[in-house]
Subunit: 380 residues, 2 copies
């Protein structure tokens, strides 16, 4: 194998693939990056066996300045190879496999020779039937990911809760995550062929995979293709394939958790409320119980936090409107901060049923497309 | 004590003082910041007992929007207080000491009440005789600090080597640091009164103190005043006092370490050489012995590094001129990188005497004002 390429073009793709590579893997060859040179271009592959990423650098794209003198394949230690490429002196670089998988990387007068591994030993990626695919709008799907992963569990005690449950049916995609203290659910419409609209998919994708996927998705891409098999999902853009394993098991029925009654409803500017919660949480973080107290009355909404060792904070929060009964309750401010940040700058409604039952946050412009739920903390 | 102030003005000064505050101190009150309000303004003090910083916010500077309603003093937990001030909702804030050192911090409708400590319990700062002072040019002195601290030792086995030896005599300031493997020395001229020029100062200031000092020095200030007592040094700009303890003991005589003969001299562009060393060190870092090899011949200068597990790198380095004998030697590339970065973008000369004796780096434009020395590593 021997090729010459523009260093920056190569580095961008290397960075994409590197997201899948973990230095903590127990399979030594997976600390490496697989490079295949064929007549169409270069294929780079990285994997931690949960996530695999394959990036393609086409020879026909002139800006890559890619020339392949000899086809072939090699696996090179990823972290190290990346550092070398980043530090090379010239705009272009040449990679050549020599005897016994030794690989030379040259640029101007600098010449590295590093030990490679036979690419035949690299694990095969899952084969996914490309017939069963549908398109997702990139920007909207990134939003779905960022808005739901916050509520996924980070504890392995119930592995299924570390994933996002994605249900596709009736020409819409529903994503939901819960760590059993809070929940985030988002729905987006999909455009599908009549045939696709007939089918239903229900999968649980590790939140970690989706977080990495969101990072690799360029905003320039308009749509991404999604394909599902029994235990794998593949997301595909023009030159990037992103594989993730699926979580096994049944995702809990979250629908019954969302209250359908409202005793009290308050409309806030999400950003203003976030500022108040951040201040209150400064003190709650110092205490044993990380809770802040919200006190809702028709004429006055108050947030307070306290820590016996440090002191207390109290603030009157500006709100847009309030309907229903007065209510006092306590909650974990970190859940509230995550939820409010996911809304960004918009008006929201917070709907309470009772001090001990979950309350929900929804966009003030109603609709069911985005719901966040938080369970209060009993303090009495 | 009660005052109102523009939050951003307060935060800037708070950040300066916070540099001196360590959360790892064994003296609880030193995790706090002392605030004194008097008729002239606010004085903030932070200290970790090695370094103490005092910042003054004058009432007469209108941009501070400082109003003092009641004079007084308090000590508040620094990290926490800083976070509160940063998160307050409005442009101005009010601090008021209530009963039993409880202190309220209010801004718009947000109101914090935190536990303070009696300011009388705060340790006193050293008293330094301000008569014996002289002026240092700020920009040049920052350069001196940044160019010498790199060679100071970070090991406490010989505490004196963790400091910078500063010698002021004959209207010049000499700063030198060495960890016994390398050395960095810088000399700058001082403008002094005839009376000052008579005196000699020879002190060892902890490198850590000087690093913090360099960070607090604003480039807008032209000169800084330096005052020395038996065991303390004070650096003083208009509204900032920076105290550091001095290291006790005799600094070794470094003059005899600097070779006065040259067998081989090579002129490089410092930046180009740095690039080559960085590449070579990628491989040396992987090996047990972190060394790279330099091979100097009249027609060719080569740098190489290798690690049996990973591979090797070899590079021909561009140089401007070379005089003297051919020489091969090995050294720690990290020392070389630090040294070259301290020169920045300029032409330098590297002067060798023998493969086992220290070599030096100086600006190509000669002069003795800046010398860096590195001891080679014996590899045979």
């Amino acid at each position: 194998m021997k090729f010459t390429i523009k260093r920056t073009a190569f580095l961008n793709r290397l960075a994409d693939v590197q997201r899948a590579i973990s230095s903590r893997t127990t399979i030594p060859i997976l600390t490496g990056i697989k490079i295949i040179a064929d007549r169409d271009g270069l294929t780079l592959t990285g994997s931690d066996s949960d996530i695999s990423i394959e990036a393609f650098i086409p020879i026909e794209e002139e800006s890559n300045q890619l020339e392949i003198e000899e086809t072939g394949a090699i696996v090179l230690q990823a972290r190290f190879f990346n550092e070398i490429v980043r530090k090379l002196p010239e705009e272009t670089m040449t990679v050549e496999v020599l005897d016994r998988f030794q690989t030379s990387i040259t640029s101007a007068s600098a010449s590295f020779t590093i030990n490679g591994i036979d690419a035949n030993n690299y694990p095969h990626l899952p084969v996914i039937d490309e017939n069963e695919s549908f398109h997702l709008p990139v920007n909207l799907f990134k939003q779905v990911i960022n808005q739901t992963v916050i509520a996924a569990s980070s504890h392995e005690s119930r592995p299924i809760l570390t994933g996002i449950n994605i249900v596709i049916e009736n020409e819409q995609l529903l994503a939901v995550a819960t760590d059993s203290h809070r929940l985030s659910q988002r729905v987006i419409p999909l455009s599908m062929t009549p045939e696709q609209a007939q089918k239903t998919y229900n999968v649980v994708i590790p939140a970690k995979s989706l977080i990495e996927l969101a990072k690799t998705l360029e905003d320039t891409a308009e749509t991404i293709e999604m394909m599902v098999t029994e235990n794998q999902v593949l997301f595909k853009t023009e030159n990037l394939y992103f594989y993730s394993r699926l979580l096994e098991g049944r995702y809990p029925d979250t629908n019954r958790l969302i209250p359908d009654q409202t005793a009290t409803s308050v409309e806030f500017d999400a950003h203003t409320l976030l500022g108040s919660i951040e201040r209150a949480s400064l003190l709650s973080h110092e205490g044993k119980n990380n809770v802040v107290k919200l006190s809702v009355n028709p004429d006055r909404i108050k947030i307070s936090g306290n820590s016996p060792e440090v002191g207390n904070v109290e603030e009157e929060v500006a709100f847009k409107s309030m309907t229903g009964e007065s209510i006092d309750l306590s909650f974990n401010p970190d859940y509230m901060k995550d939820a409010l940040r996911a809304f960004g700058q918009m008006d929201i409604k917070v709907k309470f049923t009772s001090p001990v039952r979950p309350f929900i946050l929804v966009p003030a412009a109603e609709g069911k497309e985005f719901i966040q739920l938080i369970t209060p903390v009993r303090t009495f």
